[in-house]
């Protein structure tokens, strides 16, 4: 047990109080939206603070009737799930393959890749957005699922840097043993190295999936009619400026949070540990 001076105890007390206040500001908006989502619109505008007199579940049911750009909530969920699964799957496989090659195979120029990947991570992609937008239009990829999926075939992103570390630390002895038994390069990767790196790969995949699920900008910019839940939610916020039905909006918002909070509840430790190592773009 560490002994603390009075001075230090006072500081801890002050910081604790600040932490509590900050935590309340983080939780309160969700709680407020939650209980207000059971009111009808008139009751909500009458008093935004009070608890609902009767708990109506109609908003939660009605939310499935809303639509943005002709896509309803279920459609948005479909798009979100499709993009999250496919984009994450593709990008993880690509980064795993690329980082495996760079970490375990020497060939002319292989050294450049690793440092290049690091430099590239630092360069903001904002500048080339015009050209990217033009490319999507020129190739007919604009507003297509294929275009969005094609965007995830890159092997040199954040995933590369994290997975490079995992593969670098794997013992090559297993591969040599397999080689003696006649296993080829593909067998070694898919049957030995990939399964061994799986814990690392899964945690990178979870982080990446959260990013895709929450992604607003890619769809807004390159495929506005393929409305995902994040894009749809913002669309609904804009709709509410004309027909203010806030309790309904709260219900939709809370529904959109269920998957992400479930994943966080299950993988909380993995997610937080890997964030402190790798970083997650918010």
């Amino acid at each position: 047990m560490e002994k603390r001076s009075f001075h230090e105890k006072v500081w801890i007390g002050i910081v604790f109080a600040v932490f509590v206040i900050y935590s309340v500001t983080l939780i309160f908006p969700f709680v407020w939206c939650f209980y207000n989502s059971f009111k009808n619109n008139t009751e909500f505008f009458l008093d935004v603070w009070s608890l609902p007199e009767t708990w109506r579940f109609s908003n939660w049911a009605d939310s499935f009737l809303l639509s943005v750009n002709g896509v309803n909530i279920l459609g948005m969920y479909g798009n979100s799930i499709f993009m999250t699964v496919c984009c994450t799957g593709i990008s993880i496989l690509m980064s795993a393959m690329t980082s495996y090659i760079i970490a375990k195979y020497k060939f002319p120029g292989s050294g450049i890749f690793y440092s290049a990947a690091f430099v590239l991570m630092m360069i903001p992609s904002m500048g080339s957005m015009s050209a990217m937008y033009k490319l999507y239009n020129d190739l007919g990829l604009y507003d297509t699922y294929f275009g969005i999926l094609l965007g995830s075939f890159g092997g040199f992103g954040t995933g590369f840097v994290l997975l490079y570390g995992f593969f670098k630390n794997l013992d090559w002895g297993y591969a040599e043993a397999a080689q003696i038994d006649g296993a080829g390069h593909y067998t070694i990767f898919f049957r030995i190295m990939f399964p061994m790196a799986l814990p690392g790969i899964v945690s990178v995949a979870i982080l990446s999936a959260i990013g895709v699920w929450n992604d607003y900008f890619t769809i807004y910019m390159y495929a506005p009619s393929k409305v995902t839940i994040a894009v749809g939610l913002q669309g609904l916020v804009d709709q509410m400026k004309y027909s203010a039905n806030y309790p309904l909006l709260f219900a939709v918002m809370l529904i959109s949070l269920i998957p992400i909070l479930t994943v966080f509840a299950i993988f909380q430790k993995t997610i937080m540990e890997n964030t402190t190592v790798g970083g997650l773009k918010g």
Binding site: F19, G154, V237
Partner: protein, 320 residues
């Protein structure tokens, strides 16, 4: 099985080795061909085309792009110096966001992370709560924040009114008033951004070996001494990464103003990146977006390199 390794350089052995080398090369190629192609198209080509686009303009009569020399650049600078131009505001705000990140959020996060690391009661509960904004979509976070300060439903306003401070509420709402919109956006960035830094920094602190701190404690080291002389230098590399991310914010931050105010009122909350996005998406002016992108690269690259150099000097990496 492994004959080619031991056998003398017989003809068969050499052929075998050659075959193995081919197999190996083919394997390498098959694994990195797609990412390389992707990289060529989505990085090299788009960056080259950005340079081209900045010297071109869209020709409505032909439906293609034609060369116009430096016209986009002169257009940019003329509109920059025009009265009521949003561009100076965009540059100013982008710098505000950088200053906020590096000189407000980061010091506060370091301080908070240190206390969290020093066995704060309920530490793990705080850690999870602080992390929540990092996994929730920015759409949801900006939505909640605007609700709180909304003029018709906002709980902040009703709180002020019940305290008898109702007359301080701006007529056009907090996000509609030119004086309050930008400060409130900065508040949003603190609210939504600080938790991530705290979790990242306290994670880095927990990796500091316990022996170093214990030996210091035995010498009667105070907590503030520990914070400055041990913790700060030992998490230096994390801090310099975060400082670096704060610098790039100048050129990349746009989501928060786009979703909360969309640059309004009268351009008060524009940022450089939001200007690029809106040129492309709302005005269809790709060439202006590219021009601003090139200017950012010209100004930004030396800044980023310089800051990196300074950070490497200030926060040397300690191995432990």
């Amino acid at each position: 099985m492994n004959a080619h390794r031991e056998s003398a350089p017989s003809r068969e052995g050499r052929a075998d080795r050659k075959k193995a080398q081919w197999k190996r090369a083919l394997f390498i190629f098959s694994f990195i061909a797609i990412p390389l192609l992707h990289f060529t198209l989505f990085f090299i080509y788009t960056n080259a085309d950005t340079i081209f686009l900045s010297f071109q303009t869209f020709d409505n009569s032909t439906g293609g792009y034609k060369w116009v020399g430096f016209r986009n650049y002169t257009e940019f600078f003329t509109s920059f110096v025009q009265p009521y131009s949003i561009l100076p505001k965009a540059v100013r705000n982008s710098i505000y966001f950088f200053l906020l990140n590096d000189f407000v959020i980061l010091p506060l996060s370091f301080f908070a992370a240190f206390f969290l690391y020093k066995k704060m009661p309920l530490g793990n509960v705080f850690r999870i709560l602080f992390f929540l904004p990092s996994i929730i979509s920015v759409v949801v976070l900006t939505m909640l924040f605007s609700f709180m300060f909304d003029s018709s439903i906002g709980v902040f306003d009703s709180l002020l009114r019940s305290l008898g401070l109702g007359e301080h509420i701006p007529e056009l709402g907090w996000f509609g008033d030119r004086r309050t919109a930008m400060p409130l956006l900065l508040v949003y960035c603190i609210w939504a951004g600080i938790g991530y830094n705290v979790v990242l920094l306290s994670g880095a602190m927990s990796r500091i070996p316990q022996e170093i701190i214990e030996s210091g404690r035995l010498d009667g080291m105070s907590m503030s001494r520990e914070m400055w002389s041990i913790t700060l230098p030992l998490v230096g590399s994390t801090i310099s990464t975060l400082l670096m991310m704060g610098v790039t914010v100048i050129f990349t931050l746009f989501m928060q103003p786009m979703l909360i105010t969309n640059g309004g009122p009268s351009g008060e909350t524009y940022t450089i990146a939001l200007y690029i996005v809106n040129s492309i998406r709302s005005e269809g002016n790709l060439t202006m977006g590219a021009t601003v992108g090139i200017l950012c690269a010209l100004v930004g690259t030396p800044i980023v390199i310089l800051v990196r150099k300074i950070l490497e000097k200030t926060f040397p990496i300690y191995e432990y």
